[in-house]
Amino acid sequence: MRIGIAALLLVMFVSACQSAGQQNRYEVIYAMDKNEAVASPGQSAHEEEPRKFKIGVVPKLVEIPYFNLVEEGAREAAAQLGAELVYRGPPIADTVQQIRIIEELMVEGVDALAVSANDPEKLLPALMKARQQGIQVITWDSDTYREGRDFFVNMVDDEKLGRHLMDTLAWNTGEKGEFAILTGQQKAATLNEWIKWMKVQQETYYPDMKLVEIAATDDDPQKAYETAKRMLAKYPNLAGLIGNSSVGPPAAAQAVKEAGLTGKVKVVGLSLPNLMAPYLTDGSAQVATLWSPKKLGYLTVVLAVRALAGQPPEDGVMLPNVGIIRVNGDVVVMGDPVDFTKENVNQYDF
């Protein structure tokens, strides 16, 4: 009897260590990040009500090709991200009208405002008011003062662009001669920044060149054309013209062409390839420099949505359909400028 008990115990002890296996039984030992594991099958739980952000994008003005392209890009991004886009700007580059539009958009209840500022100073109160209402304010294309916005989406690095524009003219004029600049708005902060760097580059490397005048075109093609014509008449020794905003170079090229100065007065500057293609091809303009306005519009909206979703722009982030962005303080730099010449201008459809 006692042997029986002992044997039983031993058998129990020995055999219990190897409990008989059955067909695929599972016993969880450790579950990692339970919340995550639970959330993963139906991730929609987190975004049950996909909030549709309303984003107001305000260009300097509307109905010029550059800002039309920006709108295209912005619409593409809004469609992809499921955001509501209000793209509204003044018919002419007018600060008062821009302020009015901003106030309209505030009343309409936008979540984010992306503004290309005509005048950094005058826009400031309106933008600050918007920020006080909890609206995410960003600037693009043309900056305002820092307190007026959360961050600025810059197309290119100001210094790099300013110096590069100066370089493109210098290559074509043989680093000498008089030149003039056709800028957009007198007070546009970004344009003035570029001009500053153009001057720095000229003073540093091109002592034989001389800046004779800076004239504002207010992004009006007609005004730009007339200014260019006036300059050609005023400065007979003019070797080159730099257009600082997209309407400048085509107007200048047109004026040069009409004055029969093709090849004699070089035209470079910021403009769209499509606008510049005829002039580049016939030699009345040498180099156009720009970025993709579509990409700028796209990036602006993407960054606005991301910021609303709690992801402020970060340096080195790879954004789909854009690439890697750089962030310097509160300034986002989209990329490097692209030069359009008669060789490659046909590759671009804007």
Binding site: I5, A6, C17, N24, E36, S40, E76, G323, Q347
Partner: protein
């Protein structure tokens, strides 16, 4: 409950050795085995838990490595934008001549070759670029199974990938490299970010070596299986090359995809750890047989179990031995007790050991011996007492005395001494009545003295002047209460005195006193009868002999000392060694016999009588 009680009762009925064994097993074997079992279980469980907790973390690390690799690989297409001319080729829509197309194709292919196959990563085995009905490709290995021109419809420009990377598996594509090398295809649309257009789609075939490296870093045991699969169960890479590309049939059964669990199937339990990569939708699995984890423990376990069994057997053996050693003497004791019960006292429990059992055996032996002695002693005392009493009864009026008395009476009748006859007859009658009527062992001192006086008076009639006697009349009494003495203590002494005195001399004088004296031996007041005669006395040698005889054995023979020793024996039997008969004699002058008894009152007489009666009934019952 009832069965429990029954079990309890059953337990109480077990033999002691069984109880000892059961107790031993309950106290030792069961706790030890339970302890061993529990600690082993806990230990293996804690190993399991530890590994189950750490392995998923390692997998996270491995996953992160793989993801990092994949990320690195997924940015490879971006390298295309490093070359303006390549972007220009992709932007080209139409060709004027076949030669232009071929030139672009040549340039692009050599660019791909340069950039991806010779540069970027050794794991890239092929690059395919589909753009506007053109196929650019560059591969390290020959391949088959795919028609790229048809792939346009499947993966062409219209695919809504929106710039994100997609990983495609061989099964999805049908592309096979020589030797069936495991690979994945990274598909990425090429976007013209400036024109906001799609330029084409790039496919990069990547060998899975890096996964193997990552997994090897994690675990290089042969017993562990690791694999990477999609959430649908398609195995992308398996440490067993045969299984790469197959489906995991259990994918739907896994209780979780991030964490670890024990899987028990026909071929043993395995610890499976998993981690699900959120970014890639992949699941990295590590599966190891539990035996491999606990291999070392299992060896220890086997050794422990063997040692344990050995210990249990040895200790059971020892314990059995021990319990036999304890219970055997008890069994024998039991048997011997039965013998003793039957009245057989000639038993000896032989136990050698000096422990409690030995002591018990020794005690038992000495107890039996003592009982034996006591019984013997009691038996003898009883016999002696009876004998003494019988003798006393016999000799109170012995035939010889009767004959002599009757002869004396007859002579007196002849001489016509009427008064003498009357007195003698009445004395004799009183003596006879005393003997007959008195059944008690005790009489009052007065009666005893009266009786010896009667006896002496009768003898006086016979021996006339040759005998003279004097009996001190003062009989001590206490507070008017009569004192008792064992009966028939004086007459035998007086008989002796007359016999020896008249043998040696013409006349004898006998004096009897009764007094109360303090005794040094008993430490109390005793009663002492002194019978003094002026007979021949006893020689010193004879006196010693007699005293010895009196003390030692009262019934060795009915010789001269018999009367004395009988008296002595009866007194000693009743009252102990402190009392009895003492002889003092000077040869030629006389002898004094002192009979020492305790002060006995009526109450004590009653008590002694009662005890005697009890003893008699007890003995009768015992004998019965």
């Amino acid at each position: 409950m009832i069965s429990n009680l029954r079990g309890k009762l059953a337990f109480t009925r077990f033999r002691l050795s069984t109880k000892l064994m059961v107790t031993y097993i309950l106290l030792t074997v069961i706790p030890m085995s339970l302890l061993g079992y529990i600690s082993y279980r806990q230990y293996t469980k804690s190993i399991e838990e530890q590994i189950g907790e750490y392995m998923p973390r390692f997998l996270v690390q491995a996953d992160a490595n793989i993801e990092k690799h994949m990320e690195e690989l997924s940015v490879l297409p971006e390298m295309l934008f490093n070359s303006e001319s390549m972007v220009a080729i992709l932007r080209r829509d139409a060709y004027q001549s076949r030669a232009d197309l071929n030139r672009d194709q040549f340039e692009m292919n050599s660019f791909l070759n340069r950039t991806y196959l010779n540069g970027a990563s050794p794991d890239v085995i092929g690059v395919f670029l589909l753009s506007k009905n053109r196929v650019f490709e560059s591969t390290r290995l020959s391949y088959s199974g795919i028609d790229w021109s048809r792939a346009f419809t499947d993966y062409g420009q219209d695919l809504e990938l929106r710039g994100s990377v997609k990983v495609m598996l061989p099964r999805d594509v049908g592309l096979r490299f020589v030797d069936n090398i495991p690979y994945v295809l990274i598909m990425k649309p090429i976007e013209d970010v400036d024109n906001r257009r799609k330029l084409g789609t790039m496919f990069i075939a990547v060998r899975l070596n890096f996964i193997r490296n990552v997994l090897q870093d994690l675990e290089n045991s042969d017993q562990a299986d690791m694999w990477l699969m999609t959430r649908e169960g398609q195995i992308i890479y398996h440490t067993d090359p045969e299984l790469t590309g197959t489906f995991d049939p259990n994918i739907d059964q896994y209780p979780l995809l991030s964490g670890s669990f024990r899987k028990e199937s026909g071929d043993g339990a395995r610890l499976v750890s998993m981690h699900e990569s959120k970014e890639l939708d992949w699941v990295l699995v590590h599966s190891v047989p539990l035996e491999a984890l606990t291999a070392r423990t299992d060896f220890v376990r086997k050794v422990t179990v063997l040692v344990f069994i050995g210990l249990v057997l040895v200790s059971i053996f020892m314990y059995a031995l021990f319990s036999i050693r304890v219970t055997n003497p008890l069994k024998r004791l039991n048997q011997l007790m039965k013998h003793v019960e039957m009245g057989k006292f000639n038993v000896d429990l032989k136990v050698q050991s000096k422990d409690e059992i030995g002591t018990l055996a020794a005690s038992f032996n000495s107890m039996v011996a003592t009982i034996r002695e006591l019984i013997q002693q009691n038996y003898h005392i009883e016999i002696r007492q009876k004998e003494a009493e019988l003798y006393a009864l016999q000799s109170q009026i012995n035939p010889h005395f009767m004959y002599n008395t009757l002869e004396t009476i007859s002579m007196a009748v002849e001489e016509d001494e009427k008064e003498t006859v009357v007195e003698m007859v009445s004395l004799l009658g009183r003596m006879l009545r005393f003997s007959v009527s008195n059944k008690s062992k005790f009489v009052t001192i007065t009666q005893e003295v009266q009786h010896v006086r009667d006896y002496l008076t009768i003898q006086k009639f016979r021996f006339e002047d040759r005998l003279s006697f004097d009996i001190a009349e003062s009989v001590p009494s206490q507070a008017g209460e009569a004192l008792y003495t064992p009966n028939f203590v004086l007459q035998p002494i007086v008989e002796n005195a007359i016999k020896y005195g008249l043998e040696a001399r013409k006349g004898v004088d006998i004096r009897i006193t009764v007094s109360e004296e303090f005794s040094a031996r008993s430490g109390k007041q005793d009663l002492v009868f002194r019978i003094r005669d002026n007979g021949p006395g006893i020689t010193a040698g004879r006196l010693a002999q007699l005293e010895q005889a009196i003390r030692e054995d009262a019934w060795s023979g009915k010789d001269s000392g018999f009367g004395l020793s009988n008296v002595n024996a009866r007194i000693v039997l009743l009252h102990g060694q402190d009392y009895g008969v003492q002889l003092h004699s000077i040869e030629g002058i006389g002898t004094e016999v002192a009979v020492r008894i305790p002060v006995i009152r009526a109450a004590e007489v009653e008590r002694i009588e009662r005890e005697a009666k009890h003893r008699a009934t007890d003995t009768n019952l015992d004998r019965g």
